[in-house]
Every structure is written in C-alpha cells, then in structure tokens.
Symmetry: D2
Subunit: 345 residues, 4 copies
C-alpha cells in the first residue's frame, strides 16, 4: 500500500446510507480519516457526536455546509444528501478545492449534470465520483472481468432489474415527489451497469411501460410501482430493465449479460446466506431484505476505491460522464412512460 | 375413463414434430388410433409405412390431403404442416366434418385467422385446437393452478422467453422467409402464456426491439436473431418477452409471473435432468438441447387433452380466439420492430 | 424395433406398485401384453377387472398363483408380492417355464437367495430380474454413463440416501415386522446403486447406527426410523448410506459419486417440477411426495428393458447375483445395528 | 459499544493463517490493538515488520515466546503455531496472566488437553478460546439460531463434511506426520459443529473408515486422503462425517442438520460468489478455492467475539471442554480407522 498522507474526510447527510459511509470511513477504510460531519438535522448530528466519542475522537460537527468546507485541512467530502442538492454542493466543494464523493443519481436535471461536469473540468486535480455502488460489488466485478476476458464472446444484451421488497409503510412514496420516479431512482443503477458491461455503447432509443400494482397513491406523482423498459444502443446492443417496489420475497437485484458465446447472471437468487431450509414449504432459502445487506461489502469497496484513487493520483474508471449519461437515459425512460411513445436520444 | 368410441385420426406432415405426434397417437394416447398419414414427400410416407408395420398395422398413406379427408371413418386430422397452409387445411377439414388439431401459429395473417374462426363457428360440434403446447406442460399447469388459488395474489406482470440453442448450421434461417419472423415464430408461445396466466387481458400497446448478434444473413428478411418486446394490456397488466436463436448453453424457455403477493418462475434453469456435476468447471448441470426434450411430456398431454375433449364432448379451454389474439399481437410486435415505434392495438 | 412376438404377461399382486406395473404393461410397453392378473384379495381383482374392461380386453383373473402360471400361452410373470413369498414364487414360475420380474428385495434370507439363483441356473433360457428401479432412472443412467466415460476419473466413494416423507399414519410401521428393517427395506436400493456405480467391488466390512427420532413403536421390531451406515469394499472403495422415514419436506432420494477428478450428484434437491416460488417464505421449490412420483418414468423403462431383453434374447446387466449381494450387505447392516459392532463380510 | 480499554495483543506464528489474524487485529477489530509479533522464522518477522510500518506503527518483534509474554502491557496472545506447541504455550501464557486465543485443535493428546484445562481453572479471570472458526460464520450462526427457535423441531442427526480442493503439490502431506491424521486435522471442525448444533450430547461410540484415493504416500503415516465416520451420541443423536483432501471443484464444507420437523443445510453448493455462468459446459457457478475464502468473515467475527468477551467480561460460549471433547472424539475416530473396530467412548 502507498504511504501517501491519510485523507481528511467530512461527511454531509447522516441518514441510513450516510451513517454507513460514516462508519466505513471511521474505521474500515485504510488511508482515510473521518474528521467532521455536517447535517441540518440535530438528530443526525447527535448520532455523529456519539460515534466520534465511541472512537475516542474529537467530534467536529457542522449544521452549515459552507462551514464544513472551511474545516481546517479537509481533503474530501461525502455527499449523502437529497438529489436536488447534489449539483450545487458538488460545485461548491470543487470551488473550495475538495475531492467529492456523491451518492447517485448525480441529478434529475441534465443541465445540472452538465454544469457539474463543466466545473469539474476546471479542477482536473480533484476527483469526483458518483456512487454507482453496484460496480464495486465482488460479483459484478467478477462478471465484468470475465466479459473482458472473452468468457461470453461479444456481449450484446443486458437484462437488469432492481426490485425492492414491498414495504407496507410505503416509505418511498413520501419521496416520490422528488425522487424523479422509479426509473431515475432505481433503474439508474441498471442503466449504468448495462452501459458498463456492454462496453459503453451510445443509447439511441428507449421505450418504457409501467403499472401501479399496489401503490395507487403514486398516480398523483405520475409514477408507477413496477416499470419495464427497453433501451437500444448503437451497434445492435440492447438492454431491458425492470424496477419494482412490490416484491414479496425480498430485495431482488439481478443482472444478466448475454454474449455470443455465453451468458452471465449476477444475483439470480437473492440468497440471504448459505443456509437452505427443507420443511413443509419445500426446499428454500431466505432472501436479502434490502440493498443494504446486498451491497454491504460493495459500499466499503466503493469508498476504498475512491480514497485510493485520490491518494495514488489514479484515474477513476467511473466518470461524471457515466453519471450524466445514466440521468439522460433515465429522463428519457420517464418521458416514454408518460407519453406512451418511444423516445429517441 | 370414458368408454366412448376410439377416435380414428389421420396425420398430415411428418417432419420432426409430425413424427412425434404420430408416435404418440400410435401407441400412447388412450382413446385414439392413428389410421392414416399424409404427406407430399415420399421420404415422409416411407417413414410412416415403416412405423405402421412395426406396430403390425395396415399403413394407409396419402400424398393428397383431399384423399386423406375422404379416408373411411376418419374422425380427426392433425396438421403439422407449413404455417401458410394452416388456414385452408383447417377450413377444408371442417367442411369435411373432421375435428382439427393444428400446430402453432394458426396463421401469420389476421384475415386468415378470422376466416378459420368463421368456418369453425359453422361447425360447433367440431373441435379445433392450435398447438400451444406449453399450456400442457406439468410445470406451467402447476403455475396456472397456483395462480388460480391465489398463491401470488393478483398477477400483474409476466416475463417470458423462448431462447433456442445456437445452431451453427443456421437451420432456421432457411425458414426465415416464411416463419413470420422471430416474434411470430417463437414469442407467439410467450404471448399465449402471458394472456393465459394474466387472466386473458386485452393487449393495448406493444413495443419491440431486436438485434442480429450472429446471423447477419437475417437482414434480407428484416428479421433478428434476438428480440425483446413489451406488451401492455388493459387493467395495468404488462408482459415482457425475449426470444433468441443464439444461446450457447441450450434451449432456455422460462416464464416468470409476478403478483402482488409473490412470484412464480417456470424453468429458471433448463436442467437436462437431476444430475449435478462438480469438477474443474465448478458446480453445474447440463441443459436441455431443444424444445423437443423440454416439452416431451407436454406434447403427449396436449394430444390427450384434445382427444378427451372430443370423446367426452367437453369444451376446450384453449380456443381459436386465443390463437388469433396471439397472431394479432405477434404481428404488432413485428411492425414495431420494423418501425421503431410503439404500436397501438 | 424388433418384430419379435408380443409377450403375454401375468401380474401377481395389485397393491399400489402392482397397479402401476399393470397399467404400464397394459398400454405403455411396446412388445408386451398384460393378459392376466392374480391376487388373493377380491378388491385387487375387482380393480383388475375394471382396468381390463376399460381397455376393452377380456379379464383373466386368478386368486391362485398356480392357476395363473397355467394360463394358456403365458410368457412371463410380474411378482409384486410380499417379500417373504418372492423366493418360492420365482422358483415356481421358473419351473413352469416363465420369465420372472420380481420386486425388490429378492429375499431377506441369504439361503433363499441362493436357492433362487440355483434354480435360475437350471433355466438359462429364462430371464429373472429383480426390480432395482433406480438403475433405470434417466438421471442415474446418465451418471452411470458419465462415469464409464471417465467424467470423474476413478470413482471411489458413494454417499446414497433413501429418505421418505414422514407419514403421520405410520403406515410402514405395520410392515416393520416383515420388512427386514430399514436397511433391507430402503437402503437395499442404495447398496445396489453403490455397487453398480463403483464397478461391482466386493464388500468387506460394514458398520451401522440408527435412532428412533419419531416412531418409538419401532422398538418392538428392533428397527429404527433413521439409520446410517458405512460399507467398505475392496480396493479402497467406500459407501455411506442414510435411510429415513421422517423427512418433513418430501421424498428425498439422493446419490453422490466421488471420483479422483470430480463428483456427480443425482437428485440433490427433490424438486417436484420446474416451478420456483418466491414469496414470504423465501425462494423455494416444492418437493416430490414419494418414490412413486420420483421414479414414474423409471418404472416404465425398467419394464421395457426387461421385456426387450426377453424379446431380443439379450443379457440383462442387472443379475440375480446383484440382488443376492444387496441382501447380503443389507443383512450385515442390520446385524451391525443390533450388535454395535462392525461386521466382516 | 463498550468504552473499555483497548486490548494490547501479541501474535505468535505468522504463517498464512497467522497473517490473517494479524491483519484483522491490526485494523479491523474494534477494541484491540496488535502491538507485537513473535516467530522463530526470520521471514515471518520480516513480514510483520513491513506490516507494522505500513500502518505507521512501531514494530515490536520477538523470536522468543517468553520475551513476547514479557512485552510491556500485553493483555492477550494469539497462538497460530504448530499443534504440538499449543498446550505448553497456552499454559505459559496463562501463568504470565495473559488471555489466550489458540488455533484448533487444542492438542492431539488428551492428557495435554486436561493439563490446559486444569491450568485455565486456576485463572478464572483469563479467557482461553480455541479457534473453531465455523461457529462464527454468519450462516452457521443463522442455522444455530433457527434450531434454537425450533425451526426443525428436535434436531437428531448431523451430516458434516470438510473437503479440501485437491492440491497437486500435496502440501498437506508434509504435515501428515504431525497433523494427527485427517480426522483430527479436518473433521475436528465437524465434530465441534455436530456437538454444538445437537445441543452438546455425549459421544458414546464411533466408527471410521477411509481410503487413499490419490495420495498413496500417506500410507507411511497410516493416514488417508478420504475418510468417513459415524459418531453416536446419547439420547439417540447421530453424526456422520466426511473429510477429503481430493475435491476437484474446490473447498466444500457442508453441514446438514436434520430434525423432526425439517432440515437445515449450510453450504450445499460452495459458490464463489453470486455469478452464474451459462455456456457450453451448462449452467454453473465457480467454487470457493479454500477455507480461507469461505470463512474470511468468520475469522474476523471470531476474533471480535474473543476481544469483546474480554473487554465486557462476558462468558464465552465456546469452552475448553468443547475443544477437549473434539480432540477426544477425533482420537477415537483415528483409533477406529486403524483397528477397523467401533470404539466406545
């Protein structure tokens, strides 16, 4: 490992996912040190204070984002904030000379994506990475490597789904107004995976359909709880997506990549662990409840990758252009869902 | 079992599938007796002659379809002929007072489908069944029953694929000119399954995409070797289809039905049998080579169902309207593939 | 297919398994014809009468075994009778010049096995086959062929289990007094498979243990409802057996064959069919309820193999010596269970 | 988390497994700090020096065990040394007032086990734990909890195997002289699991068999490369074990626990990750190469559990008596293998 200086990191936003990043940065990522936390919510700052104390560290807590950016010696920020804040917060951090890790999606607005890219271009020495965590999962990594090695010949088709377990509380419905809809919220991961695994082809046309199987209250947001889509790329590459909020059995993220000489499937059965049960229900396995358990290790690898890239001054494979393209395709899917027409890109 | 009279059956067309039907009718279907065979091809009649002789039966062989229909005491015909001949042959048989089993698809032309239905309506005492064999597979039957029993709540989404093993000889390409394209040739099964499993909803809009991953020579027929499609029905039901001619591992027919309380998957791994191999390649199972092995038992059940319905004068669940609707949706998929536009139905 | 004369067959014993053999012989086995049935039980003969009538055949029914053997033109008998009757009935049939198919096990008594072999040796033109049905299952056949082809290198170890679903009625307990115990009743199949798959090694030592997990009433018969055993053969080959009467999930017959270059497993998950269910219980498949469903096709192949061997005058691979050896090892297992000592063979 | 003082730990032995423990202790275990390392091998100390330096820590390195024990402020030692050294090193550490974690097995000699227990009894304030790592695996933990909750009724039977991938270098053969043989080296894990999962029954009789499938050179050590065994406990509980050095497909550790109402299987397919491959070899998954990958997380949990128990002054569930009992049964298995007789305990 490089003996580069340990990075001083500040985190912004300490909801469920923010806390995971904070805990990873606190003790599990070599070369990084969490030195400060920022949130407008007192409860989130309270959580941070306790966490720092357990680790016998001085808690530097900020309610104001600008104050965090001014924290002495800060190298990088982690933004785990509402999507609508991403573009401005990223730009502000870059202007303050900080590296930025930001949760997906980059933005729901294409113009905002481009503003961020333009600002990033002015700071070539700073890293910006959007959290497409699935790329960092060991199984997706293995699939990617196998494709590079020619294991399935020429890959030409992807089927990818993000299916969440049904939540009787309909927690996500609260965020439906600002989530951008099911394709920008969920399928954005599948879009990014499809582009990555198919060798970054250019999307040329999309079509989407959807239904409200359970959550009729999504109608007010013109959103659906189950959506399917076809995305055609140049060079005859195609992806099909499925996103759902209503799975009975658990969180079911699955991706299939078909090539001229074989097919790889990542996550065909969302097994919780290595236990199999044989009883009156048959032979079965329990399933993962959410993306949190599914991508627990990947969240750590993602952060380590980001930190290493900064310390070793290496290029990140995952770029802002990737994030912008995922948003661009996601927006087109939403348009198609609303219009009932194919959308050209 | 009913003690009704044994049906006298004649078969028309003795290619690979015709021979299977002939063998089933010869010795494995209670209540039916194969008494005659018809083909314009001498080699096919030779095969039939030998088969009759092995069974110590008199071979009645006809090169002419009209002559077969005139065979003394004939009750029913099995048409395993080119699709373009189906409509006229069915109509002729009905007019001759014969029950008709005909291979799928009914026709590639919607007007022809309607002509057949009109003729059938004039002969309410005669049965006509199109061979959507998958409905008769024990696993699909089990899934259907479970859905009826409410096992997955309200079913609202189907994913169904028909993926053939890659054939280096490109045998199917020869038939591409008359097959109607991948959706009418392959997906027609998935269309029928989706309608059946979702409770016969009305299709309202379709969209299709496709690619030529290997068989570039399909371009002359405006056909593809891999196609995907979305079919939206009324009441918020949706189906996604995938058809392929290029699988490396075998014949992979799979259908997933999702409801508000669960999901059923039929055929998620096209296992050849119950053997599992652990060796340097990992832990694996061999796969079914073609639909012939996959639906071996279903072909027999299909014929038995047809024969029983005639002998017991029972209504067939699978109707000509089902076959017509499958063709109608299949045609719309082809149109969408060619136009790049969604097609309203 | 050979054009040899159709065999006239009589069946003896029409319990559950006898009926299956009768139905197969009646209409599904080419080259054989069921012409007569024999049973001391009026209800069983009634069933036979009805079956013959449905098939529009003359019912020849006998309460007396000697009378059946005297049936005009009879070629072969199928014995699906209590094990204690097997030896004498086989000998009687041979002396009457009939081929014999007899259900497993040949006998619970080694001396009886030898008497049968001696009698059979006097009638080399007659076939005798004991119904070790698993050898005729397509998956076991595939495993056997793969081993012959060297797929797993040199096979040296077998794990094989016969585990029945728990029957709250404890039906089998009634037969415990005469079944010979769990090893002679159930493991006798696994013993035969192990010998077959390992290349007919000679057993040299066995050890067995067991427990009464649920059926305490088996104590009176010195029997157990769960038994395990190790059987060491010459040349360093080893088999481990497990038999159970108390499975919660279904009938679970499984065999694993390990060689120097790989392992084959037959039946690792007793899937009922190709349906997979994803619901609140996880991802699961239902299981086969009994050996009847598991070996439905194998029972037919078994009978066809026997009939073909007679008609084509071919040697049977499965011999009386195999059946005798299975009994010999089964007896040694029972002895070991009772003594707590290893038993040398 | 407790705010107890951070433990100062020294490690002894830096082979493959020692290094893993060292790395975990260095940066991944909350509440512990690796402060010193000990090895008689210069190369191992070199590795330790580099590791300390990467972490910017002062390397305290000792060639002598006594010197390590005298290290200022040391709280605990981790012994990852040859089995023959375990008893004396544990006793010495206890006498020096240190907590002890020691790799399995405790010893190959029952008298030594008892000496260790006696010494430990004199230091009730010190923790001693033997590294039966499988108990700390998330899947085994889940199975254990399910059993406690009654998921399978009363558990009465265990099948457990430890099967290593074939190593053409025969690395393990070098250690065969001192490993105690396959049962004490490998099955000792399965013995411990069986006792734990069956509720700590008392072993009453064992029988073992084995073969040399590939490694004929084991004959000089009276050892085998594939061994099977039956262990009968009181109250009608039974375990069957299988250990192998010759698997073609990978490391295959699997445990099945059967109860009166169901069965749990841990590790039925040693999947490497969530990738499934469909190609000319069929549908398959790659396998775990060794116990290192299989139990990567468990090694960390194991250490954390030990550290937490010390810091929170909690009782360890896994005791020295468990380790002694595993050795006692393992010795009996070896005796049975050599004598060909059942061994009473």
């Amino acid at each position: 490992m490089s003996r580069a200086r340990t990075l001083k990191v500040g985190i912004v936003g300490l909801g469920r996912l923010g806390r995971r990043h904070a805990e990873n940065l606190m003790s599990r990522v070599a070369g990084a040190e969490l030195v400060a936390a920022c949130s407008p919510l007192p409860a989130e700052l309270e959580w941070a204070r306790a966490m720092f104390q357990v680790q016998l560290q001085v808690p530097h807590l900020y309610a104001d984002y600008g104050a965090l950016l001014a924290h002495d010696g800060l190298d990088a920020v982690f933004l785990v904030t509402p999507t609508s804040l991403h573009p401005q917060q990223i730009i502000q951090a870059l202007q303050a000379g900080k590296h930025v890790f930001c949760e997906k999606p980059l933005s729901l607005d294409l113009e905002d994506c481009r503003r961020v890219s333009a600002e990033a271009a002015r700071h070539p020495q700073l890293k910006v990475m959007i959290g497409f965590v699935r790329r960092f999962d060991a199984s997706y990594q293995d699939a990617y490597k196998k494709i590079q090695q020619g294991a399935i010949g020429a890959p030409f088709m992807v089927y990818s789904q993000t299916c969440d377990q049904y939540d009787p509380d309909g927690f996500f419905v609260k965020f439906a107004a600002t989530s951008g809809g099911i394709f920008l919220d969920c399928s954005v991961h599948d879009i990014d995976l499809a582009r990555w695994l198919l060798g970054n082809p250019q999307a040329v046309r999309v079509y989407a359909g959807g239904t409200r199987a359970i959550h009729q209250d999504l109608q007010q947001f013109q959103d659906v709880d189950n959506g399917v889509a076809i995305c055609e790329f140049d060079n005859g590459k195609i992806a099909t997506f499925y996103a759902s909020r209503t799975m009975a059995h658990g969180h079911d993220t699955m991706t299939e990549i078909t090539g001229t000489a074989g097919r790889l499937t990542v996550g065909s059965n969302p097994r919780k662990n290595r236990v199999e049960i044989a009883d009156v229900h048959g032979v079965r396995n329990e399933c993962l409840p959410s993306f949190f358990e599914r991508f627990e290790d990947a969240f750590l690898t993602e952060v380590s990758t980001f930190v290493d890239a900064i310390r070793r001054e290496q290029k990140l494979e995952l770029t802002l252009d990737d994030a912008t393209e995922a948003t661009r395709i996601g927006i087109a899917l939403r348009e198609s869902l609303l219009s009932g027409q194919a959308v050209l890109l």
